[in-house]
């Protein structure tokens, strides 16, 4: 059971029926891209969940590190003016 023979890990993304973007649904092991697609179909779309599948080698994903959470995301906390609810619109105007 040598480690080097373990099939690589793939991350699976599925686009559903309603025009939304592909969404990460999980991962699986497969020897190559073709097999990853076949396995993804069996593992993640048994109940009509999808119209399109993306398989991405897990090793190819660049992810932000948890330790960068502060510098990356905190600056947007103070920018409340980026949200529509920041602005008071006079009642007379109605919906905007």
């Amino acid at each position: 059971m040598s480690q080097k023979n373990e099939w690589p890990l793939w991350e699976i993304f599925v686009r559903g029926q309603h025009g939304l973007a592909h969404r990460h649904v999980g991962s699986l092991h497969a020897a190559d891209a073709e097999m990853a697609l076949n396995n993804a179909r069996d593992v993640y779309t048994r109940r009509n969940e999808g119209l399109s599948i993306w398989c991405v080698p897990a090793a190819a994903i660049t992810a932000s590190a948890p330790s960068e959470k502060g510098p990356l995301f905190e600056p947007s906390n103070s920018k409340v003016y980026r949200h529509p609810t920041f602005y008071d619109i006079p009642k007379e105007i109605g919906n905007m």
Binding site: V25, A31, P66
Partner: protein, 330 residues
């Protein structure tokens, strides 16, 4: 449950004063229902306990295919056969979702497989009982999947993100399993005398093992406190077992079948059923490897793994060869 008797590591639950800064921050996140993700800092004990719990859960799904796989070729109708095939396929899927969740904690799929095949890792005691008649397919769906749902629904809200997300998918699919099982029982219970007797016999054989699925009594469950604190266990074993009995007894009455427990009695005071003592010697024997089918189940998994070795290797070699050809062509 599907992960019975998971040993939590560590020596009891630490007080806030005993925790270091990382541990305190970690516990605060859990107490505030913020999910822990794979790359976040976590105590070694949390990681180890979850590796055990999730891999046991995954192994149970995979080994759980065997008792039902036994009846696919002998299902009474083509419709029942397609339903059973779909159900067993779901179990394989559930195992795969869970293996992936465990892998995020830093254990490889092959390591987990090795632990299952060597007997080091456990799987649920329930799958070490034989499936003797078609009615067992009904009893398993109704009772075993019914018991599993009780435990899995709260796990959707557990603290570890990848585990919780796997449970969401599993719970969506699990309801079909229980209902198809009840449907099998319902048809048999309304059938001929022989069919009804077959349903009763299945209930007789599966009732007690189903109650054992929830694990030892709280009094003997030494690892619960830490798992509660980490929010990877939300209900005590006895609490879930009681809930299961209260939910299932009226369903058995509807079927016109007798629950095989002479001590079973409604208790107004606790608004639930009192039930008889569970044979824990049997439970511990089955968990330790001495159940009726332990050897057969592990033997089947070992055979599948060994017989498939050439295939796994061939596909890797093929993938490498094709990648090399593609590169040469570019």
């Amino acid at each position: 449950m599907y992960a019975q008797m998971v040993k939590a590591t560590g020596k009891g639950v630490k007080t806030r004063e005993q925790m270091d800064e990382n541990e305190r921050h970690f516990q605060d996140r859990i107490d505030n229902d913020i999910k822990i993700e794979a790359k976040d800092w976590m105590p070694e004990g949390y990681r180890k306990t979850l590796k055990r719990q999730i891999s046991q859960h995954a192994h149970s799904e995979i080994v759980g295919q065997l008792p039902e796989g036994n009846w696919i070729t002998r299902a009474p109708t083509l419709e029942r056969k397609t339903i059973l095939l779909a159900k067993v396929q779901d179990e394989a899927g559930h195992g795969l979702y869970l293996y992936c969740a465990a892998e995020t904690l830093g254990i490889s799929r092959d390591e987990m497989t090795e632990q299952l095949l060597s007997g080091k890792a456990k799987y649920s005691s329930i799958f070490n009982y034989p499936t003797l008649t078609w009615a067992d397919m009904g009893a398993i769906g109704w009772l075993v999947d019914g018991a599993a749902i009780m435990n899995q629904v709260p796990l959707q809200y557990c603290s570890y993100g990848p585990y919780a997300r796997a449970m969401v998918r599993i719970c969506k699919e699990e309801s079909f399993h229980q209902r198809q099982g009840f449907d099998i029982m319902n048809v048999l219970a309304k059938g001929s005398e022989a069919q009804k007797a077959m349903a009763q016999d299945a209930l007789n054989r599966w009732w007690w093992p189903a109650l054992m699925m929830f694990g030892p009594s709280d009094a003997d469950s030494v690892h619960s406190a830490q798992s509660f604190a980490w929010n990877i266990k939300q209900n005590s074993n006895d609490e879930l077992r009681q809930k299961f009995v209260d939910q299932t007894v009226p369903q058995a009455e509807f079927l016109g079948l007798n629950v095989p427990d002479s001590d079973l009695k409604w208790n107004d005071k606790k608004n639930g059923y009192d039930f008889g003592a569970i044979n824990w010697d049997e439970f511990f024997a089955v968990i330790a490897g001495d159940g009726p089918c332990n050897k057969e189940r592990l033997g089947a998994r070992q055979k599948a793994w060994n017989d498939g070795a050439w295939f796994r290797e061939a596909l890797i070699v093929n993938a490498e060869k094709r990648a090399a050809c593609k590169q040469a062509a570019e």
